[in-house]
């Protein structure tokens, strides 16, 4: 409402606007000041204030519940059968495991790390090969010294020396082959160490592009491992023979007779 000058003619309208709450704070203040200055209008103000209806808060609508409607509840995920949930959990677990495995084995992100990893792999391989070689030598050399007299004593005849030497020669060939591979591997390590870091990064990136074929950094080829594989096959045969002997011994049964009764120990065939 626009503020205006109060007088005898408009005081009633201003009081009515005040009763209806249509005056702003300034206008209200003006009205109060005017009435204080002209107390003859105070009775009019009080009379109009009596026309305001009192609150009837005690009157409440009794059937409110009848008017309420069922609200739609937001369900983020629809309930599914048990097997579907189990399948979903299995898939999630598989994805998680795969992700961890990939992240753990993926060294292609950082080319420098990949090169360093290759170096450490080559070094580990060389160390392992050296250990294997020393083990093989340690086993074979004493055998040559001990086996000959033992065989002579047990069999009571002179062993054919030439056939034994052939076996030893073949074994030595295998060892020589492994030693050669070690030297190649060592050369590979020194070669990698000699390459500057920048070039290593370039090589690693190039290898990353060529991914799909056999790793280039391996010091030996698969066909060259044939002799070693034969040794492994022989060891496997020996193991199987020992297992068979063990099984035969277990299958034999001993029968004891005590006070006319027979007691069997072991498996009766």
């Amino acid at each position: 409402m626009i503020n205006m000058t109060l007088n005898k003619e408009n005081i009633e309208e201003q009081i009515l606007l005040f009763i209806d709450g249509e005056l702003n704070e300034v206008a209200e203040q003006q009205l109060m000041t005017y009435i204080e200055a002209h107390p003859e209008h105070k009775a009019l103000l009080e009379a109009y204030m009596m026309t305001q209806l009192a609150d009837e808060e005690h009157i409440v609508f009794p059937d409110k519940e009848l008017l309420l409607r069922k609200e739609e509840h937001i369900v983020p995920f629809k309930k599914k059968p048990v097997f579907a949930r189990i399948a979903a959990a299995a898939v999630l677990a598989l994805i998680a495991v795969s992700t961890v495995y990939i992240l753990k084995n993926d060294d292609t992100d950082n080319p420098l790390t990949a090169i360093n990893n290759k170096k450490s792999r080559v070094e580990k391989y060389v160390t392992a090969q050296q250990k294997d070689t020393s083990k093989v030598l340690a086993k074979i050399e004493p055998k040559q010294n001990k086996q000959t007299p033992t065989i002579q004593r047990q069999q009571g005849f002179k062993k054919d020396i030439s056939s034994k030497e052939e076996v030893v020669a073949r074994q030595k060939n295998d060892i020589d082959f492994i030693a050669t591979q070690q030297q190649l591997a060592m050369q590979n390590v020194s070669y990698i160490n000699a390459i500057p870091q920048e070039q290593l990064q370039v090589i690693a990136l190039a290898e990353k592009e060529e991914r799909g074929g056999l790793p280039q950094w391996l010091p030996i080829k698969e066909e060259n491992l044939q002799g070693l594989n034969e040794l492994v096959a022989k060891v496997q045969d020996l193991r199987e023979t020992i297992q068979e002997k063990k099984a035969q011994l277990k299958s034999q049964a001993i029968v004891l007779t005590v006070a006319g009764k027979e007691f069997t120990i072991g498996n009766k065939q």
């Binding site: 209806l53 009157i59 409110k64 008017l67 609200e71 739609e72």
Partner: protein
């Protein structure tokens, strides 16, 4: 509005709507029916009525229904008639609240409803104009006239408390 907002309207507005209807028609059961009908109408058209318009929508429906009831009853007491009658009507109880209710019931339906909307709901002239399909000036004039009638009734020699 959605169902949640509709229910909020029920919780927040049903009491005041009921009060308004009851004071307007003077019949609790009829007021209850009016409120239910107003909310049924709101529910049916809730998709087109925004939540912030819910209150004025409900009061407009109820106001129109009240006016229909008054028309059906065929009792329209003009302010002039009231002014003529109040001098010889003797209120049995000299109590401001009851005297005021008596005076209110002697107002014409439209003036009575305007006073109810103003005093119970605290609507502004503009808001009352929207609910009643009157313009703001009409609302102001009708309301001031109704206040004068009520004041004259209360301060008359017979009804002075």
């Amino acid at each position: 509005m959605n169902t949640t907002e509709y229910n909020q309207c029920v919780r927040e507005l049903s009491d005041s709507l009921y009060r308004f209807a009851w004071k307007s028609v003077g019949d609790g059961e009829m007021a209850k029916d009016m409120v239910q009908q107003a909310f049924v109408t709101l529910w049916e058209s809730k998709d087109t009525v925004p939540f912030e318009k819910g209150k004025s929508y409900l009061f407009t429906i109820t106001y129109r229904r009240c006016m229909d009831v008054h028309r059906q009853r065929g009792r329209t007491v003009s302010a002039e008639n009231l002014h003529e009658n109040y001098s010889y009507e003797q209120p049995k109880i000299h109590d401001l609240k009851k005297t005021l209710q008596t005076a209110l019931n002697l107002l014409d339906e439209q003036s009575k409803n305007l006073v109810l909307l103003k005093d119970y709901e605290g609507y502004s002239y503009d808001e009352i104009a929207k609910v009643t399909d009157l313009n703001t000036t009409q609302v102001k004039v009708y309301l001031h006239r109704a206040r004068k009638v009520l004041k004259n009734y209360l301060v008359s020699k017979e009804h002075v408390i």
